[in-house]
Amino acid sequence: MDQNRRGARASYVALTIFLAVWIFMPSTVRRFNREAFTEFQAPGLHLVSKSRDLARFWELKSRSSEEMALAGRDLARVNAALELKLASLDDVRRENTRLREITRYTVPADYMSVVARVATRDSSSWWNRIVIRKGRNDGIRPGAPVIFGNSVVGRVTAVHLTTSEVDLVTSPGFRCTAFLEGDDQNSIVLINGLAGNSLRTPQARISVIPNDYSTGTLQSPKAFTTGMGGVFPSRLVLGTVDLDSKATKPGSSFKEGRLNPSRELYNLQEVSVLVPLHQNPGEALLQGDQFQ
């Protein structure tokens, strides 16, 4: 046992030395270490996610034919309605193209859309993340916006070979600009994931709301992306806005609010990553940065 003690003392000394070395180690080494452990876990995550898909498949397969028939009928109805809408959209699209030609408007920012399955979700006070089953091999790059339908899910923060981590809208590491519905002046507001909310649905903070903004008759006004920052395309839904009178200082020039992201955010099965075709400067900065 005494031997054990002596060994322990030596181990503590070794640990201290190693810790000191670790702190001054180039960040590439640490990044490599991180990367290695992530890749080690990737097959497990894939496996889990795929078995979940399989379970879902069998669950659906076990449905009775009556149920299927009912669902089929419902779908047919939805389909018919969508057909109608599509026809009317055709006109709009044509008009849009015509106007673009007249004004010689070039559509900025082209994206490549990558559809990805969600492997796991993970959240705490300090992060709100999902891991998706697509990675560097599929062309995903850090900083790319992640959407579902027309609402924003978050942004890719780290990319590995076959998996990527996505910071959700509610993650403290998430920041973007938005326009609020019902604001005629189109002032830019700041959206920031909010830390520290326990046992409540996560929210994001909206700050720098102009003082004269009020929700008016709108029940729950939406917040949209501005499309100005060069990351998110414009007019994607970020969530609904709650003005927070408690967080707003009386007499201050800005209001504060809370953003409630869409409910699906925590039940997502599949998302699309919009990878910009041209690398934006923020990405270039990220690559040379010690963060990540």
């Binding site: 046992m1 270490n33 497990g44 959240s123 006070s125």
Partner: protein
């Protein structure tokens, strides 16, 4: 026997993956099912320090890899705990001791990463609000609870694996 720790890691990994899946379920409430601290207790009781230390470091790095925790914080905390545990094996000589060890090491490790993360992120997001502190406390309490609840099943699997690869039983087993 030098690779015993790696085999142990593989044997423990399903549990870590399972914890991730459980975290997935709790994600809406913002909690992480944290078991890294529990996982190192049983191996520390039987493995030699030279084996237990890399095992603990790997368990730590696995948890850190996909989360914005400052590099190495959890890994080194676990290593420190494992050094202590291997040096004081008598503490783990009976069931209550083991359970206590599991709870304490899980709580300590959880506190370490949560505090480190909060400090690292405080430049942009001040951890000022009471709700952050409450959440912190709840997360740590959850870790303690999980330590108590999951120690026995995890250690059963780990002990089985150690038996299979021929790790000698703990010297002072009553």
């Amino acid at each position: 026997m030098g690779w015993a720790w790696l085999i142990m890691l593989l044997a423990t990994y399903p549990w870590l993956l399972g914890a991730d899946l459980a975290s997935d379920v709790l994600a809406r409430g913002g909690f992480v099912v944290f078991i890294s601290g529990v996982c190192i207790v049983a191996p520390c009781r039987r493995l030699r320090p030279i084996q237990a230390i890399p095992f603990a470091a790997c368990v730590g790095f696995l948890f850190e890899a996909r989360r914005p925790i400052p590099d190495g914080v959890l890994a080194f905390t676990l290593v420190a705990i494992s050094i202590f545990l291997t040096a004081n094996k008598p503490l783990l000589r009976n069931a209550p001791g083991l359970l206590r060890g599991a709870i304490i090491s899980n709580t300590l490790a959880c506190t370490a990463w949560a505090a480190a993360t909060a400090l690292a992120l405080s430049t942009t997001e001040a951890p000022s609000s009471n709700s952050t502190l409450t959440h912190f406390a709840l997360q740590v309490a959850l870790a303690a609870l999980i330590g108590a609840a999951l120690y026995i099943p995890i250690s059963l699997v780990q002990n089985y694996a150690m038996d299979r690869i021929g790790v000698p039983p703990a010297a002072d087993t009553p």
